[in-house]
């Protein structure tokens, strides 16, 4: 396939779609499926089978990836020939019959669609997610009709690798995996590196609990990621790419595997991509359950089939990555932003966001919030807008206590900072991080020391064990948090905990250990009173902790609590 063929295929499919009377997009992602989207699909299929010969070909049902407001699933989008579009929430087999019936009969449905100005949608800016909910991820032609691989074709035939790198640099795109390292700088480094072979790696090992942006992108629009990787391959001079998917995401892996095969079959990946001299193969690697593999050096050891342990940096992967060769490694979401940048230009992308954080960011908004789901907003949107406008506030009259960002490497942002613009620098200044994009809203029933303990338990379990501060330090920090939350802590324990946090932060080998203390330090910063209430007053203000243990020094007065061998005479 060459560029003209690609163009032709896209136009053909676009025309076919425009001919249709009714196009039905049913969200077929995991949350909607578990809410009954499969039953809706059965009902839809039955309904259509029952239609007469004339009406049937005018209809199209597309099982799409995620549409966003997962808590309102199953979601159904209906697009009429005149382009008007309605989205229905919580559809059931019964309601879907009514909805479709009304459209076919050209009358107003008795089921109300979501309002056209629904803040959840209107406040978003879709770039990485622009195709989600519009394509069947298993039909490459759907993606092609929406412009997939067009940017690749343009890049291969019109641009030099140098130009591509400079475009990325000028766009201001930064790593979406959490670190926020300028993507252009990385690309440029790998491009300039002298080596016989180079690699491109997409990091889809999304391990932060409470984050599912990458899963959704890979499941809903896999070609977007592959195209981004191929453009990167061309830009840095790599002919081999790896996409590393978390083992917990079998559906994402399956869809990517199919997408790779389809793209190869269409000559969009493999040798002589789009009739150019550029070859690019992508291999899928499936993780096996280790959070640390989200760290880039650990991910690469895992790709090589070894224990996923990180290695000290420098040298950085751009100099010495897979098999010691220069390797470009970016997050899945970063790659998903590449094709639009190439299509619309760096200036267009840089027009979104703030001065230092350009473009948009995808968040998984969940926890105690009315509209939970996947959102994409401009960098710099305030936390208040995200939680109260897009998220619709807290359910059941709950009060906002904190928003957790950055998973086990991040922190809890309290109510007084709700107006903070969400970008890399601002969140860091608050002692949290952007992270991969998990955003969990907590109400007054969440206990902050308990939340810190939850994350420490996570880090302790996921520590690879290579370096001492992380391997042992996380366990010791967990023990101290355990004491605080069970009532046996003393004042000095808090000091020991803080000191330990700093040593683990500053001396650990990789990002996991360096950031493991963040949830503790950050909650100590904003919710110190809550820690003190546990220690000094034996009180858990949120009512979560049992506090039924006795501090060591008070034991002589409570000797009966001690385990001593008792035997009935």
């Amino acid at each position: 396939m060459n560029s003209a063929d690609l163009q032709h295929l896209a136009e053909e499919e676009q025309q076919r779609q425009q001919q249709l009377n009714l196009r039905l997009f049913l969200c077929y992602s995991t949350p909607c499926l578990s809410a009954g989207a499969d039953l809706v699909k059965v009902a839809l299929d039955e309904l259509i089978a029952g239609l007469d010969e004339k009406q049937r070909p005018d209809l199209d049902i597309v099982a799409t990836g995620c549409m966003g407001p997962c808590s309102r699933g199953p979601l159904l989008r209906v697009v009429e020939r005149n382009g008007s579009e309605k989205i229905f929430e919580k559809v059931t087999p019964e309601s879907v019959r009514e909805i479709i019936g009304s459209f076919l009969a050209d009358r107003a449905p008795s089921v109300e669609p979501l309002p056209a100005d629904f803040a959840f949608f209107s406040r978003q800016t879709l770039i990485a997610l622009e195709n989600n909910g519009w394509v069947d991820p298993e039909q490459i032609v759907h993606s092609i009709a929406r412009g997939a691989y067009n940017s690749l074709a343009h890049v291969l035939h019109e641009m030099t690798s140098e130009q591509v790198c400079s475009e990325i640099t000028r766009s201001g795109l930064r790593g979406r995996g959490g670190g926020g390292y300028p993507a252009g700088v990385k690309w440029e480094l790998v491009r300039k590196a002298q080596a016989e072979r180079k690699f491109v790696v997409a990091n889809g090992d999304e391990g932060d609990p409470g984050a599912y942006m990458d899963r959704t992108i890979m499941e809903s629009d896999p070609h977007r990621v592959l195209e981004g990787m191929a453009i990167a391959g061309y830009a840095v001079g790599a002919e081999q790419g790896y996409i590393y998917v978390r083992g917990e995401y079998p559906l994402a892996a399956a869809r990517l595997a199919k997408a790779i095969k389809d793209a190869e079959r269409h000559g969009l990946l493999g040798s002589r991509v789009l009739d150019s001299s550029f070859n690019f193969r992508v291999d899928l690697r499936v993780g096996a359950g280790a959070f640390v593999c989200g760290e880039e050096t650990a991910l690469m050891t895992s790709i090589m089939g070894r224990r996923g342990q990180p290695v000290p940096r420098p040298p950085y992967p751009a100099q010495s990555g897979l098999w010691g060769l220069p390797t470009l490694i970016n997050n899945v979401e970063t790659f998903a932003s590449v094709a639009p940048i190439m299509r619309h230009g760096a200036e267009w992308f840089a027009g979104f966001g703030t001065e230092k954080s350009k473009g948009t960011k995808v968040f998984a908004l969940c926890g105690e919030v009315v509209n939970s789901g996947l959102i994409e907003v401009q960098m710099g949107t305030s936390l208040r807008d995200i939680v109260f406008e897009i998220g619709g506030g807290l359910p059941d009259g709950g009060t906002f206590k904190a928003a957790q960002t950055g998973g086990p490497s991040g922190g809890c942002i309290p109510a007084q900072h709700l107006d903070t613009p969400v970008d890399y620098e601002s969140l860091q200044a608050l002692g949290s991080i952007m992270g991969s994009g998990g955003l969990i809203v907590m109400n007054e029933t969440s206990c902050m020391p308990d939340v810190a303990k939850f994350f420490m338990d996570f880090c302790m379990d996921e520590s690879c064990g290579k370096c001492v501060p992380c391997r042992v330090g996380t366990v010791e920090m967990y023990e101290l948090l355990q004491r605080i939350t069970n009532g046996s802590a003393m004042d000095e324990d808090l000091q020991t905990l803080e000191e330990l946090c700093h040593v683990v932060q500053e001396t650990s080998l990789c990002g996991l250990g360096m950031t493991a203390p963040n949830p503790v330090l950050n909650t100590l910063q904003y919710f110190r009173d809550e820690y003190l209430a546990h220690i000094r007053d034996n009180q858990c203000p949120a009512g979560v902790c049992r506090l039924d243990q006795i501090p060591l020094l008070k034991l002589p007065e409570h000797a009966e609590q001690l385990a001593i061998f008792k035997e009935e005479p």
Partner: protein, 179 residues
């Protein structure tokens, strides 16, 4: 200790074990016996055999020409690989942040109490394996879990215990009929 693979089959009849080994061999061949395919091969082995016992690990180590301790080290580094057989039913409770703040801990505690077991183990009657997982990426369904692979969202301790009990009783009826 017996060594796998066994001798080439003398009859055309292949034992289930041999058939499974054939599946494994297919993956090995597909990966061209590259050592960096170890994790992929272990994935296939686990899917095929249910768990990774010593014979399988030894076989993989011989086929990929890797030291046995290397293979064992990799197999135990990753959570996905299980060296012990799992129970008839597997309940994986998500302990991601969203699920945790919405009470996943209570669900785990309740199952542990109800079935007298600890997370990460299998009941003595081998009916149920309970696993507490890191985020399964379905946070909008919090608290969520999977029971024999199917997703259950917005659970409570009661609803989960009921679902698990139903699974166990429905399969034991079948078991009694066939035995």
């Amino acid at each position: 200790m017996t060594k796998t693979p066994p001798n080439p089959p003398v009859t055309n009849e292949k034992s289930p074990h041999e058939l499974k080994l054939q599946l494994l061999d297919k993956t090995l061949k597909k990966s061209q016996y590259q050592q960096d395919a170890l994790i992929e091969v272990l994935h296939t082995a686990q899917e095929t055999f249910g768990h990774l016992d010593e014979d399988i690990l030894d076989y993989v180590s011989i086929q990929l020409k890797l030291p046995p301790s290397w293979v064992y080290g990799v197999a135990t580094f990753y959570n996905f690989f299980s060296l012990e057989p799992q129970g008839d039913h597997v309940c994986v409770v998500c302990m991601g942040t969203a699920c945790y703040v919405k009470g996943a801990g209570d669900i785990v505690a309740r199952i542990e109490q109800e079935f007298d077991m600890k997370a990460g183990t299998t009941t003595t009657d081998n009916r149920l394996t309970l696993i507490s997982a890191r985020c399964l990426g379905n946070c909008s369904l919090a608290p969520m879990l999977t029971l024999d692979g199917s997703v259950l969202g917005k659970q409570t301790p009661d609803s989960t215990v009921a679902a698990v009990k139903e699974k166990i009783s429905s399969s034991s009826v079948v078991g009694e009929e066939t035995s």
